[in-house]
Symmetry: C2
Subunit: 415 residues, 2 copies
């Protein structure tokens, strides 16, 4: 029977060479061969092809006192621009990258979390993209692909937002809507897949075999990496840790089930917990979630006792729910990301590290690490740009179908 793989980075020689250059930066043929495990002869042949195709260029030539001069190769950054878009319930972040995934420009458009119309959301995405293109000194003609992360359940193979609970969206053909509005190739996926890919390319995933990249924001979830490969699941929905149980028959979650982790660790969950502690707390008067989280961080800095209790309970919930991930998957790394993490990690992470051993089976504990993500910038936008780039590389002189990433399809062209 045919073997199938979940790898988004395929073990294909041409792709491996290009990916090595992302990981290593400008490199010699010898360094590429060592990194990829390909033979020096294979690397030399492929590099010659890439140079003739204009995909690679020579970055530097160095001369030692003895021996031949050696060349450092790099992907030609002039080959195009990539957009990575993080669409959340409360904002759209857009970043323009070159093909080395260096950011050139960015923008943010706030969304009203109480609006849910398709036109409202698409308009916000388009405005963010236009502003990012202007900020990056780029033109739309230079953009080779747009990777768009949509909240909730997404089928990248169909370009569909299957279910976005906060907006009550069902089966919205978002990729076609965006491709039409933008006149650009669009690839949609889910933020959990994007954050996992950003950690695989630029974070602890470069050296880690298994990890969960845990997002804490309006929604919560985990990008799961097993044996260096992104876990997608049968319908791209793996990682919905936010919809595993913390408390059977507990708080009503926006997914409709009771007791989900998200009902305690999503921003609405934090608001509910604070209301249980002090229903008149001033932070609860913030109309939008980012304002609430900022007020919590401010209050914790000032030593507000109700917020200290909120941090204590939230850390307890988080340690317990992360313990479940470790016990089920026996992963070695947990990386926390998302805007709640960015605001509150100094209160949450030490407490979680302290409590986690109480929740994890002893044999799964050795070498377990929990830390905030060190991926620079917005990891969702970066991961989406990396997905889009994987597909773009598939068209960059990589004629063989086998070299396309495992998503098994090309970018949807504008209609």
């Amino acid at each position: 029977m045919p073997r199938q793989t979940s790898r988004d980075l395929r073990n294909e020689s041409r792709f491996e060479v290009l990916h090595a250059l992302f990981t290593l930066g400008p490199s010699t043929r010898q360094e590429i061969a060592k990194h990829t495990g390909l033979s020096p002869a294979t690397v030399a042949t492929l590099v010659t092809q890439f140079l003739s195709e204009g995909v690679l260029r020579i970055a530097t030539i160095e001369q030692n006192t003895v021996g031949r001069p050696y060349e450092r190769l790099t992907i030609d950054p002039g080959r195009g621009r990539i957009l990575g878009i993080d669409v959340a319930e409360t904002y759209v972040d857009a970043t323009v990258y070159d093909v080395l995934l260096q950011p050139l420009g960015q923008s943010q458009v706030m969304l009203d979390e109480h609006q849910n119309g398709q036109t409202y959301v698409v308009d916000g995405i388009v405005r963010a993209i236009d502003a990012a293109i202007a900020d990056g000194g780029t033109t739309r003609a230079q953009i080779t692909g747009v990777g768009v992360s949509m909240p909730g359940q997404v089928r990248p193979d169909a370009g569909v937002s299957v279910f976005a609970p906060n907006w009550d969206w069902h089966d919205v053909t978002i990729e076609a809507l965006l491709a039409e509005r933008l006149g650009l190739p669009v690839y949609v996926d889910n933020p959990l897949k994007a954050i996992a890919l950003s950690e695989l390319w630029f974070g602890v995933g470069r050296t880690t075999k298994s990890m969960a990249v845990v997002n804490l924001g309006t929604g919560v979830g985990a990008g799961i990496v097993i044996d260096r490969a992104l876990l997608r699941g049968e319908t791209n929905n793996a990682g919905e840790w936010g919809h595993t149980l913390l408390q059977l028959d507990g708080r009503l979650c926006r997914c409709g089930r009771r007791g989900c982790v998200e009902a305690y660790l999503g921003v609405c969950g934090l608001q509910t917990t604070l209301a249980e502690i002090d229903p008149d707390h001033p932070a609860l008067r913030e109309a939008q979630q980012p304002g609430f989280v900022a007020a919590v961080a401010d209050g914790l800095t000032r030593g507000d006792s109700a917020l200290a209790e909120l941090a204590r309970r939230t850390s307890h919930y988080l340690a317990a729910a992360l313990g479940d991930l470790v016990n089920l998957l026996n992963i070695s790394h947990i990386t926390l990301t998302g805007w709640t993490t960015a605001a509150l990690s100094e209160w949450l992470i030490p407490a979680v590290r302290s409590e986690l051993p109480d929740h994890v089976l002893p044999g799964s504990l050795p070498d377990l690490t929990v830390e905030a993500s060190k991926v620079p910038g917005n990891p969702v936008a970066l991961g989406m740009a990396a997905f889009s780039l994987e597909q773009f590389l598939g068209t960059l002189g990589l004629a063989s179908k086998a070299s396309l990433p495992a998503t098994g399809r090309r970018l949807r062209s504008p209609v």
Copy 2:
């Protein structure tokens, strides 16, 4: 960097040919080529080698009216015997198999669940093995390997029972103890890995890409298969679904944490639930767990109302906890096994199927199936025999180190 794999069945041609014969039964070279995806020429070469080595023999020769006669090949069942041992808290099941994993003889020795000494448990294992060998009309000299499943956390690479909560065992070198007592090569692993392998070889795993094989007994847990490969985790502890949360700060679990799934769905959990419903129920007077489960099944058949409420609550707990597995892993199949399943599946499975959609995100629900395992006999013993056989095949004319299964080691020889 070197790539690592979690596959216990390696994509290695010689192993693939042998494994195809397990899956297909006696087969022609053409059928093997079709099943493995190897070229007919490669299969012909490997079969010739195996025949000359005595690993394979010709099972039948058939003659059509036209064309050449064709041979059906089989692994020579005379090449040895394999023991598969399921050690649980309450019993030891031992089965003798031929190298086609057909059972030849078996035995069961009951263990007192209140005893935990190493000598007591090892004695029980040895008695079960001796009785199975006698029942199978086999001699100890014919046994080529013994696969032993131990409850709790096991490191097969070290042959150690890391933690067995019911016995309070820590870092017991069980493999060496058994190899010394038996004078036979021993391989130890965990029942969750064994049930997953038995489903991969003989159950729904033959046609399923991803599944959880859920064991319900004294302990509960899941053998997880992702992309047709067994998920082991960093320290072989993946699948400890029994120690994920059902109820934060809920019932005390024997692992020391509060609120674990096992505290509700393990047999002790069922006893606790029944005691909450009717503390004087006669089923609670059974001294040993198998007697309790049998009494529950009997009572349900008779329409006992307290036991009907026990089944209702247990199904609710099970549906919720299985929902977590689906939401996190987005698997397509759940197979239930274990002796609680064997006794109570007719009450639990229909109720779980009915409630599960309430716990699963809509995008993860299509094509989800929940059913009792159809693997014949004891799946833990069968899976352990399959592990042992994988290692035995590694010595059966398979000289190349690359053909060994991914556990990366040979059987521990007797000391």
